[in-house]
Every structure is written in C-alpha cells, then in structure tokens.
Symmetry: C2
Subunit: 209 residues, 2 copies
C-alpha cells in the first residue's frame, strides 16, 4: 500500500516540475503513477493535498536536520555547528534534488500554503541559523555584521544548485546534481564561510587599513 503512495509522490514531483502544478491534472498524475484516481483521493484527498504533502514532508525533514545540529550547540562550537548544517542540508538536498527544485520554486508564489510554510518552518529555520550565527559572533569565532544577509547568502548558496539546475547546465555546462559537482560545490560554500564569515573583526579592520 505504501508503495502506491510513494508512486503517486514520485509522479507528482516529476509532473509538477515539468508541467507545473496548474498544468498537471489528477488524471495525468494517476496515469503517470499507474494508479486509479481513487488512490490519489484516498491518500491525499486532492491535488492540493498532494502538493501540501510534498512541501511539508520536505520541510519536516529539513527542519529536523537543523534542530539536531542546533541541539549540539552546548557541546560544539558555532563554527562546527555551521559547517555541519551545510554538510547535512546539502546531503539532504542532493538526496531529494527533484523535490527540492519543486519546493523552492513553489515558495516564490504568494499562496496560503506558502504563507503557512513560512510562518512555521522557515521561522524555525531563521531561529536556528540566527542562534548559531549569533553565538559565533559573541564567542568571536566569526564576524557577522548582518544576520539577515548571512542567512540569505547561506540559504541561496544551498538552494542554488537545485533551483538553478537549468542555468548551470545550459550556461556553465555543469550538472550540479552529479556527486562530484555537489562535493566540489560544498567545498566552495565552506571556502566562502572561511573567507567572509569565519573572519574576526580585527582581521577585517586590518584589511580595511
């Protein structure tokens, strides 16, 4: 029975990504998943319920990763926590790359579902990132003049290879979902952290002189 549910989910991710949510009918979903329309109603009520499931299951997993790292803050330093966030969330995105692409695109629409996702999951995400960044700033492990900008840059670097797949392959001839490319990309994120976040204020002032 769970296999039927998973087949519907897999079909939805593919169709929503290629034809868009509005461009996909329940009939097409059923055909692609090789199930009856009744199965979709049974598991997800309707197309909107299926969409909600995709978004919430993605963020349930994503937030639980951040939460686990956040809980380590008493024993690990902020720098280690931030690096672990990057490593674990990149791995999660890579394992769910088609879903990630759909989720990030959907988040740019102004809908009730998106507002709910924002006020539950993304407010938590902000809380965890903020706590880690502020701790590092306080312990002088690194210098974060604007938490907002640091979070925005971190988030955009993590989501870019998934949301911009098309751009990266057409313009830069990179397949960002290939394991080697993601590994390399992860190194670039860490490099960015080393160069512009993991820098003490005194060192930046020296540069400014």
């Amino acid at each position: 029975m769970e296999k039927t549910k998973q087949r519907i989910i897999d079909a939805a991710i593919i169709l929503f990504n290629t034809k868009g949510y509005d461009g996909t009918s329940v009939r097409e979903l059923a055909k692609k998943a090789n199930v009856n329309v009744g199965h979709i109603s049974y598991y997800f009520n309707n197309k909107a319920g299926l969409q909600e499931h995709l978004l919430t299951s993605f963020f349930d997993q994503y937030i639980s990763i951040l939460e686990k790292v956040y809980k380590k803050m008493s024993t690990y330093n902020a720098r280690e926590c931030l690096l672990e966030c990057v490593e674990r969330t990149m791995q999660f995105h890579r394992e769910n790359r088609q879903l990630a692409r759909y989720v990030y695109r959907e988040l740019t629409f102004d809908t009730t579902l998106v507002r709910e996702i924002m006020s539950t999951y993304l407010t938590k995400e902000k809380y965890y990132f903020k706590a880690i960044l502020e701790k590092g700033h306080k312990t002088k492990e690194f210098y974060v003049p604007s938490v907002l900008m640091a979070v925005m840059q971190l988030k955009s670097m993590i989501s870019t290879p998934f949301l911009q797949t098309q751009y990266l392959s057409e313009v830069w001839h990179i397949m960002p979902y290939e394991t080697s490319a993601v590994d390399q990309y992860e190194k670039v994120i860490v490099q960015w952290l080393e160069q512009s976040v993991f820098v003490e204020k005194e060192q930046l002032e020296k540069i400014a002189l």
Copy 2:
C-alpha cells in the same frame, strides 16, 4: 494603440505572478486588461507569445545595461565596472520588480523558451561578468578564485529581494521593494564585494596565517 499593448503586458505580469502561467487563461487576461481577446492575438499571437515577449523584453534591457558597463572597461577599472553593474541592474530590477519576480521563477522551468533565453541572453551575461571579474583578477584589484561562484553569488544577491519577496516579508518582516530597503540592500552587496571579492590574495593569505 501602444496603451492597449501595455495594459495587456501589465495584466499578464499580475496574473502570471498570482495564478501562474498555466493557471491563467487568455479570457482572464483580456478581462483584467480590459481589452478584447482579439487584441491579445493581434499584439502577441497567443499566450505563449505574450510570455515570450515578457521574458525577452526583460533580458533585452538587462543585457543592454551590462553591455554599456562592459564597454567602459577600457577607461574604468574593473572595480568601478563591477560596482556600476550592481547599481544599474539593481535599479532596473527595482523599476521592474513584478516582472523580475515572474522572469526569475519562469527560468527554473525546463522549457524550450527558457533554453533559448539561456543560450542567448544568459550566455552574454556570463561573458560580461566573466570579463570584468577576470580583468580585476589580472590587475590584482581583487581576488576571484572561482569566476563561477562569484557570478552565482552576485546573481543570487541581485535577484533575491525580488524572487524571495514573500520570504523576506513573512519571515523577516522586510518589504524588499521599498526604496529604503533596496538602497540598504545595495549597500550590503557592496559590503560583500568589499569583504570577499575586493580583497587581494596577499591579504587573504595573511588572514589564513
């Protein structure tokens, strides 16, 4: 007559942004623009033609801005050119913020139109950014270990306030399209350039010690 065309364009931007391209019918477009369906056919052939017009007119203007800055490279230094790119493109995005939001979302779909946009406009964008970054690297005005990453970060910082409007307002309570917020955001981009791009290699090596 041109007013009718502009009314159709304005209606399309609003409807495509709220209901999505697939979720919008030609009938709705005509109603919103207060024109006949025949007017849409006359100016744009069909809904796909209207979409193509939105994307190509956005990128025609955007690329011509980059081209103008690029042509100044012989008289201005790379640093000035890069700062001017940021200033001018941010202003262009601010003046066309609803269109920018639609365009950037649409670019995440894998369609023939998107591939054409990539291979014409975004290949040019890459060329201009690359030329400026490589010049600055060569003249040691700044240090760019990876042109790809520098371009990706720059592009994502420029597009973020428009693509992530919803996120910024719901989670951070910022209205990124307000003039003061965009001005402030532009300062943050410049700060990022100062801290992690406009840094000579020798200085970075000093930090690493």
